[in-house]
Amino acid sequence: MREEIPNPAAGDRHPGVETWISYHGGELADREAERLQRHLVACPACVSLVLDLDAFAAPPDGEDRASVSEFELAAAWKSMQATLADRQAPPRWFERRVGVPMALAASLLVGAAGLSLWGIEHRRAEAYSRPQVNLAIRDLEPNRATRSGGAPSPTVVRRDSYAALVMLPSRTFETYQAEILDARGRRVWSGSGLVAHPELGTLSLGLPPGFLAPGEYLVKLYGGEEKVPLEDDLPIRVIP
């Protein structure tokens, strides 16, 4: 018959994290390790903990990296930088090397580094602490004629509002690139590493308040790293 197994459902305590670290590191006596293995068989939560511990302990590999897009990672790092700058007194790299010109350059960099990055950074901002109305959201099938048969009309975005553009690309790629061109065809922003929503197939792009001056713009999409042009242009009009 089976030996007595700790039953977490019956209130038996889970071994502590330090115990699991020792177990994973092979530092326990056989008998203790066997006791813990019996616990694992009955405890998916502790199994999950051990598997996570193993993922942390091993050098990060490509599999882990593939779970986060380059785009997300860049956004997360930007957000991290902002947090360090906010919370620390001040971060040491600012302390040592950064004067006003560098700080100014950094702020300009944030402005230029990509619309997507704002999505996370602005989560902390005052504007994100309450619901916002009238976000310009467009479920886009670019270049598709309107119901009346005409060319797609521009998505209208107020300059002082945050706008989330949701785009449905016409072709499927692993990643996408996007550009925003002004009325003269000059590129005002570009970003890479966009990935489609796994189920909906949509791409999203956040336009922070004030990022674009009033005027006409075109959001262009490209597929893959080789930048295959897609006929998925989204006209937008920024109004004051």
Binding site: Q37, V41, S48, D52, A55, F56, D61, V68, F71
Partner: protein, 213 residues
């Protein structure tokens, strides 16, 4: 945007990652190139830490906040990190403690007492073997209660490691690799255990039903 790839355009291999990590820690602790070296660490481990919180926290905002909080702690504590443990293990402790702290905050907001911290392996953790508790697996669907009982008895008669590997496979639906990690065995050993278990169970149950493990 910002993430160094190898010349072939692939993510760095684990060996490369390990060497980069070591260099980054050394550089950071020496007080040189703090931002650049911390960024290397951040980019190497961000997916691992995020996945840790994705498994435990429902709100994606909270997942991101906790991931960031973990790295903030890493930044603050890295200077004092002594190489007595692997960096990854040290980071795991920080992530785990960050999660526990968050759970306490959540529970105090809800005015509900939280069990003692160190016995909280995961907020979503269930204490029941998944298949038995939920009845959601294909195996459960296919088997009657009587068949389950017979299977249970047959599994109980297997040698310890084989039995535990089989239980993890059937009731928690772990992959071979996950069983190997949990049981501290090689993947090959797990395969052999499961192969043998399948044979024994078939014989014991006299082909009454298919054993798929």
């Amino acid at each position: 945007m910002g993430v160094a790839r190898t010349d072939e355009g692939r993510w760095p291999r684990p060996a490369d990652s390990g060497a980069r990590l070591e260099r980054a820690i050394e550089t950071f602790q020496a007080g040189r190139d703090l931002e650049a070296s911390f960024r290397v660490i951040f980019e190497l481990y961000y997916p691992v830490v995020l996945r840790f919180f994705r498994k435990r926290v429902i709100s994606s905002d909270d997942q991101l906040d906790l991931t960031q909080e973990t790295f903030l702690r890493v930044y603050k504590g890295l200077e004092g990190f002594r190489r007595e443990a692997r960096f990854g293990t040290w980071l795991f402790r920080i992530a785990h403690n960050t999660h526990l702290k968050w759970l306490r905050r959540q529970h105090s907001d809800d005015d509900v007492a939280l069990p003692e911290s160190d016995s909280e392996p995961g907020s979503r953790g269930t204490a029941e073997p998944a298949a038995i508790a939920t009845g959601e697996t294909a195996l459960d669907d296919a088997l009657s209660a009587e068949r389950q009982r017979r299977l249970r008895e047959a599994i109980d008669e297997l040698p310890r490691q084989m039995r535990e590997s089989t239980e993890l496979r059937i009731y928690q639906e772990l992959s071979y690799r996950e069983i190997a990690v949990a049981m501290r065995l090689s993947v090959e050993t797990v395969k052999v255990h499961l192969f043998q278990a399948r044979k024994k169970l078939k014989k014991r149950l006299q082909d009454d039903f298919e054993i798929q493990i």
